[in-house]
Subunit: 415 residues, 2 copies
């Protein structure tokens, strides 16, 4: 057989970080990129330009003129027309994760319905009707039931804090999302409302699953250690692996929740399960949420691809999330997920005052000889994810301090 | 400033393994490859085809039409015309390592002369005269002095055991290298002869040096732990990091020898110093060998680039030799070289009975979930270096066993 060919939709940093893993495994990577200079296009030799919504571009990605046919289609983001994926799969192309699974990362209402049915721990939540008056009434009822404060979300299209808004009865309730309510009525994304979980911190579990292997051949599954994720302005700013002061029982519970979701949704590839840790077991509510409220954790969001909460694995685990994703979608045996250091901390570089992040290399490498700097080759824009730094070590406060300091240098501070 | 551009001569697996490091640092890699399908050409987007001996190709590599000018020229092999490099450097192009240093990795006579002058521990050695009768007489004298057995080497063009021959008085002495003696007289590579060192094992020290930093700004230098290198048929088959049962004093001595060579030769980039470990300090001989024979180590060969003995650093050290080479030639601060595991063992995949090594991925990844498999994308030929496997752990015999077993699967055995 010729070397496997993996087709990836999306040419950002996630596809970029798949490239080293593909090279090591001897696998051919073909990435559909948004333009010739995107993060992935700079490091992938086979990178046709096209839109994720363009059927012809996807079909050519799978079977280009004069190039080898792809063995599998996968993604670095969820914004791909699901009906096209279903059609491709029906005609024999392995699509991994499949459209039936991917929809749960594309539509938060579909996700909440399914997680509730699976008994996964969810916040109290409700769908808002499409009709505006009914939506306003339902939102008012929900706010009253949860104590006057909740989170309204668009079912589709949100990311990095976009499509999410905290709403309070005291501030006018539905008036705060009037535009979204009208948009939903006009055929835009439907809305859901969730209780604002009184969380103590955010956790994430990264899990990988492949079609074969595992118990009774139901699909091999591996998880990495539970991590703590620290957001700033709705964007992941720091990840601590493993999550500090998390009991073995709670870690086991969190990993178990993630595995059940991966299996329940039939995920192939990497799945990131973002979770809230709550102070203590809460009383069981009356809203539809399964056995959720008896747990110390609550599922927040899903991403069905390598995820920011897993960038630490590049330098801090035996197998990175990027290699694991490629192995999973090719149905190759999964790799060991053990951490290689006591602590690994990832600090994101979000925006920079520099014209080019590489201008800071002399300073950051000089000040932090053991920092693992990863730059995405992207143009600088305020708040944009431009790179990250991993630092490993035994002393967590020191590791955190150094990861943050290295990222600050790349943001143009402390130069 | 724009992102740095590094031009590399040679498109084999060493340039291939520079690509992930370049991507992470946000550095643009441009590689002169021997053909469109070489190991590096598969994973480097900017990979013009040309010969290392072609002056026009090298000049275009540095300043292509329509592309950014390279900031530095470096190499994945030593087979580059040195006069061209000297000319480029004279006209302002940083060439790293520079031609004055590189010549010591190109010409073994130049190397031995210089190491002897530096006081580095060398085997007893002698140049053979170009005139055939004089060469035969000199070789006979040398054989008599060292006890009837020695190693004749061509000064240039040898690698992986080629250009090296053991010669014995009992087998006719110079008759065994009659062809080389005639070739040297006809303008071919000159010859040298070295005593056949009664070594107990082979060690290697990898050292990196950059122009700036370090003590008094004389150039920052970092070494990785001393490794043991195990050859089969003159080719590196296995590397154990760190070298087992090497005393701290001997390790310090070996690293010190390598650092002195890097500094004495003015190396920029990665330098591999291959060494013999001998049983015990030997009596001082009469041949020109500095203070060499009072040491437990003797320098065998030099390579002025990332080297097979350093592939373990990709998975077993904080900074890999490939990233370090790029940092060094850009004069960026060097990275931490600490090992990330108690033991890391690299096993080379030398030849295979498979058509494609990727055919063995299901078996090798299934049997060895923590093995770090690295395939070079090269066509299978007997004995060819097709890839390697790194395994890390606490139990050395077990780590060695698993690395060897994983490599055997990739060679098509035990499938």
């Amino acid at each position: 057989m010729a070397a496997p060919v993996i087709a990836v939709v999306g040419g950002g940093q996630l596809a970029r970080m798949m490239a080293p893993a593909a090279g090591e495994l001897g696998v051919h990577l073909r990435v559909l990129v948004e333009g010739p200079d995107t993060a992935a296009a700079q490091v992938v030799t086979d990178a046709p330009v096209g839109a994720a919504s363009d059927e012809a571009a996807i079909r050519s990605l799978l079977a280009p003129d004069g190039g080898p046919t792809a063995d599998v289609l996968t993604f670095e983001h969820e914004h791909v027309p699901n009906d096209l994926l279903a059609d491709l799969r029906a005609h024999g192309t392995p699509v991994r994760p499949g459209p039936d699974a991917l929809v749960h990362a594309q539509d938060k209402i579909v996700m909440r319905r399914r997680l509730t049915a699976l008994g996964s721990p969810c916040p109290r939540w409700a769908e808002l009707p499409l009709e505006p008056d009914a939506a306003r009434a339902a939102l008012a009822d929900f706010l009253a039931a949860v104590g006057g404060e909740a989170v309204v979300k668009t079912s589709r299209g949100g990311y990095d804090g976009k499509g999410v808004r905290v709403v309070r009865t005291a501030d006018g309730g539905a008036d705060q999302v009037a535009g979204w309510i009208d948009a939903a009525a006009a055929g835009g994304p439907a809305l859901l409302v969730e209780e604002k979980v009184p969380f103590t911190r955010e956790l994430a579990v990264l899990v990988a699953r492949r079609p074969s292997g595992g118990v009774d051949g139901a699909g091999e599954v591996r998880t990495w250690p539970v991590v703590e994720s620290i957001q700033r302005d709705g964007v992941c700013a720091e990840v601590i692996a493993p999550a500090p002061e998390l009991s073995a029982a709670d870690a086991e519970r969190a990993r178990d929740v993630a595995v059940r979701i991966a299996e329940g949704l039939g995920v192939t590839g990497v799945l990131a399960v973002e979770m809230f840790e709550v102070e203590a077991p809460r009383s069981v509510g009356t809203e539809p949420s399964g056995d959720a409220t008896s747990s110390r954790i609550v599922v927040n969001e899903l991403a069905m691809r390598p995820h920011n909460s897993g960038h630490w694995t590049i330098d801090g685990a035996t197998t990175s999330q990027f290699e694991q994703h490629l192995r999973a979608v090719l149905d190759l045996p999964l790799g060991d997920t053990s951490p290689t250091a006591r602590w690994t901390v990832m600090a994101n570089v979000l925006g920079s005052t520099l014209d080019e992040l590489t201008d800071a290399l002399p300073a950051v490498l000089g000040a932090h000889p053991d920092a693992r700097v990863n730059l995405y080759g992207k143009g600088v824009r305020p708040g944009r994810k431009l790179g990250h730094v991993n630092v490993s070590g035994d002393d967590l406060p020191e590791v955190r301090r150094r990861a943050a300091a290295a990222a600050a240098i790349l943001r143009g501070e402390d130069l």
